[in-house]
C-alpha cells in the first residue's frame, strides 16, 4: 500500500537516508529502530508524504507521490493513521473532539461514531479525560490520545513514531495489544521505537519484522534482537 523505491533524503547537508526500498503490504507488522537521529521520523514522514524525498519514488496506494494532487493527498491521509513523535492537537478543543477530528475532516458526522469513540477512549485509559483540553494532559496521556486519533477512522495503515516513549510498561502493552488487534484485521502497522522489550513482546504474538536504520541504510534485523 505504501511503496518506497530507491528513496534517498538529505535535509540540505549530507545525505541522511540512502537508497531505501521497502513496501508495506496489508497485514504486515513492522518495527523501525535505529539510534537517535538516524532518520526514523524522517522515514515515516516520507511514508505518509509529509516530506518529499530528494531522490527515488514513493507510491501511496498506487499513486505516485510526485504527481498526486493536494486533494488526493488529503484523501490518502485519511487511509493512514499517524502518531507523530511530538503529538500535536487543537489546544482549544476537548480531547474527545480532537480524537474525532479525522471524522470531521472526512465530512462525516462525529456524533455517529460516539460509541466507538467512547470505547476507544476507555481502551487507552482516557475515559475520564474526554472533556479535558490537550494542554492539561500528561505526556503519556497525549501519546495515548494521539494513537486513539490515529485509529479512529480504522485506516488501512498505521504509522506510529515512538508511541510508548512516555508510557509505563502496562500501558505500553495495552497499546501494543490494540495495534496487534488491528493488524489481525488486516491493517499494516509500522512502529518506530527504541523499546526492545516491546519489540520482543510483539514478536511473541505476531510475525513482526524489525527494520533498522544504521549508516544511512535500511536493514532487516535478524533473530538476534
Amino acid at each position: 500500500m505504501i511503496a518506497l523505491e530507491n528513496v534517498a533524503h538529505s535535509y540540505g547537508g549530507g545525505e541522511l537516508l540512502s537508497d531505501m526500498t521497502h513496501e508495506l503490504v496489508p497485514g504486515s507488522f513492522h518495527f523501525l529502530t535505529g539510534p537517535s537521529g538516524a532518520g526514523k521520523s524522517t522515514f515515516l514522514k516520507i511514508c505518509y508524504g509529509e516530506l518529499v524525498p530528494s531522490a527515488g519514488r514513493v507510491h501511496l496506494f498506487g499513486q505516485d507521490l510526485r504527481t498526486m494532487s493536494r486533494d488526493a493527498m488529503a484523501d490518502t491521509r485519511r487511509r493512514i493513521g499517524i502518531v507523530h513523535q511530538d503529538c500535536r492537537f487543537l489546544d482549544h478543543l476537548p480531547l474527545s473532539e480532537n480524537i474525532a477530528l479525522p471524522l470531521l475532516a472526512a465530512g462525516r458526522d462525529p456524533a455517529e461514531a460516539a460509541d466507538d469513540l467512547r470505547a476507544l477512549l476507555d481502551w487507552v485509559g482516557l475515559g475520564s479525560h474526554a472533556d479535558a483540553l490537550p494542554p492539561s494532559l500528561s505526556g503519556g496521556e497525549r501519546q495515548r490520545a494521539a494513537l486513539a486519533r490515529a485509529v479512529i477512522m480504522s485506516p488501512d495503515v498505521i504509522l506510529a513514531d515512538e508511541p510508548t516513549g512516555n508510557l509505563d510498561w502496562e500501558m505500553s502493552l495495552r497499546l501494543l495489544r490494540l495495534l496487534i488487534e488491528l493488524n489481525r484485521m488486516g491493517k499494516a502497522i509500522l512502529i518506530a521505537t527504541h523499546d526492545l522489550n516491546l519489540i520482543r513482546t510483539a514478536k511473541a504474538e505476531v510475525s513482526a519484522r524489525v527494520l533498522r536504520i544504521s549508516g544511512r541504510r535500511l536493514t532487516t534485523a535478524g533473530a538476534d534482537l
Partner: protein, 298 residues
C-alpha cells in the same frame, strides 16, 4: 473592547470550530476593522463635503457671467434692450436676467449701508447671464457687444473662477486620496492580522492537514471566521462613526465648508459600503494567505 457576538459564532457553523474562537488575533482583526471603518466614515464625510463644495463653486461660477452697462441716463434702456437682443441670439446663453434695482442695492449694501440713495446714483445696469459650457464663446460675445453696445462690458468671472476651480480640483483629489489611504490601510491591517492569525494557528493547520483535511476545508474555516470578524468590526466602527457624525452639532447656517462635514440625505447610505468592503478585503486576504500557507505543507 469589542468582542465577537454570539451571532458570529452561530454563523460559523461546525467547521469553524477547528479555529480557536478568540484570542489576540481575533481582537486585533475586529479592532483594526472597527478603527479603520470609524476613520473611513470621517474620511468619506470629508470627501463628500469637499465634493459638495467643489460642485457648489463650479455651479455658482463656471456657468455664469455678468454684463455691466454704464451709459448716460437716457441711453441706458436702449442699450439694455440691445444687449438683451444680442444675448438672445448668442449661442450658449441659457438665461439672461436684468437685475432689478433692489438686487443691485443689496449687492452694494455692505459697502454703503441700507440708506444708499440708489435712485440718485448713476449706477450701472447689471445683467446676470447663465451660460452652457460647450457652446458659449466669451470672446465673440465681447466683440459683438463692443460693436453694438459700447457701454456694455462682459465679465465672465474668469478672474475669480480660475483659482477657485483649481482649489476645487485639488480638494476633490485630496478627498479621494484620504479615502484611498484609509482603504489601503484597512486592507493592509486586515492582511497582516490574517497572516498573524495563520501564524498563530500554524499548529492547527498542520494538525488538520495531517489528519487528511483538504485545503478547502482548512481555508474555509479561517476565511469564514476572518470575513465575519472584519465585517463585524467594520459594522461596529461604521455605526460608531455615523453616530458620532450624527451627534456632531450641525451648523449649516454658516454655509462654511468645514462645519458642513457630515452626510446629507442619501449620502447617509454611502458609509454602508464600508463593512462590505472590509469583508471582501478580509475574504480575499485571508483566502490568499491561507492557501499560500497551505502550499508550504505537503
Amino acid at each position: 473592547m469589542i468582542r465577537p457576538g454570539t451571532f458570529l459564532q452561530r454563523a460559523e457553523g461546525n467547521t469553524g470550530r477547528v479555529v480557536p474562537p478568540s484570542g489576540f488575533t481575533a481582537r486585533l482583526t475586529i479592532f483594526s476593522a472597527a478603527a479603520m471603518a470609524f476613520l473611513a466614515v470621517f474620511a468619506l464625510a470629508l470627501a463628500l463635503a469637499a465634493g459638495r463644495m467643489a460642485d457648489r463653486w463650479d455651479a455658482a461660477l463656471a456657468d455664469t457671467a455678468t454684463i455691466r452697462i454704464a451709459a448716460p441716463q437716457g441711453q441706458m434702456e436702449t442699450q439694455t434692450a440691445i444687449v438683451q437682443e444680442i444675448l438672445r441670439t448668442t449661442p450658449g446663453v441659457t438665461e439672461a436676467r436684468v437685475l432689478p434695482v433692489e438686487e443691485s442695492r443689496a449687492l452694494l449694501e455692505p459697502w454703503f449701508g441700507p440708506d444708499l440713495p440708489i435712485e440718485s446714483l448713476a449706477i450701472p445696469q447689471l445683467i446676470a447671464v447663465r451660460t452652457a459650457a460647450p457652446g458659449f464663446d466669451a470672446q465673440s460675445l465681447r466683440l459683438r457687444l463692443s460693436a453694438e453696445a459700447p457701454g456694455a462690458v462682459l465679465d465672465d468671472h474668469t478672474r475669480w473662477r480660475q483659482p477657485l476651480v483649481r482649489a476645487a480640483a485639488r480638494l476633490r483629489s485630496l478627498g479621494f486620496a484620504a479615502i484611498g489611504l484609509i482603504g489601503a490601510t484597512v486592507a493592509a491591517m486586515i492582511v497582516l492580522a490574517a497572516q498573524a492569525a495563520l501564524s498563530a494557528n500554524a499548529q492547527v493547520i498542520t494538525v488538520l492537514r495531517l489528519i487528511g483535511a483538504r485545503d478547502a476545508f482548512i481555508a474555509r474555516a479561517f476565511v469564514r471566521r476572518f470575513t465575519l470578524r472584519a465585517f463585524g468590526g467594520a459594522v461596529a466602527g461604521t455605526a460608531l462613526g455615523m453616530l458620532a457624525l450624527a451627534l456632531m452639532p450641525g451648523d449649516p447656517a454658516t454655509g462654511a465648508f468645514l462645519t458642513d462635514i457630515g452626510f446629507h440625505g442619501a449620502e447617509w447610505l454611502s458609509p454602508l459600503l464600508i463593512p462590505p468592503f472590509a469583508a471582501i478585503t478580509a475574504f480575499i486576504a485571508t483566502r490568499a494567505a491561507a492557501l499560500r500557507r497551505l502550499k508550504e505543507l505537503t
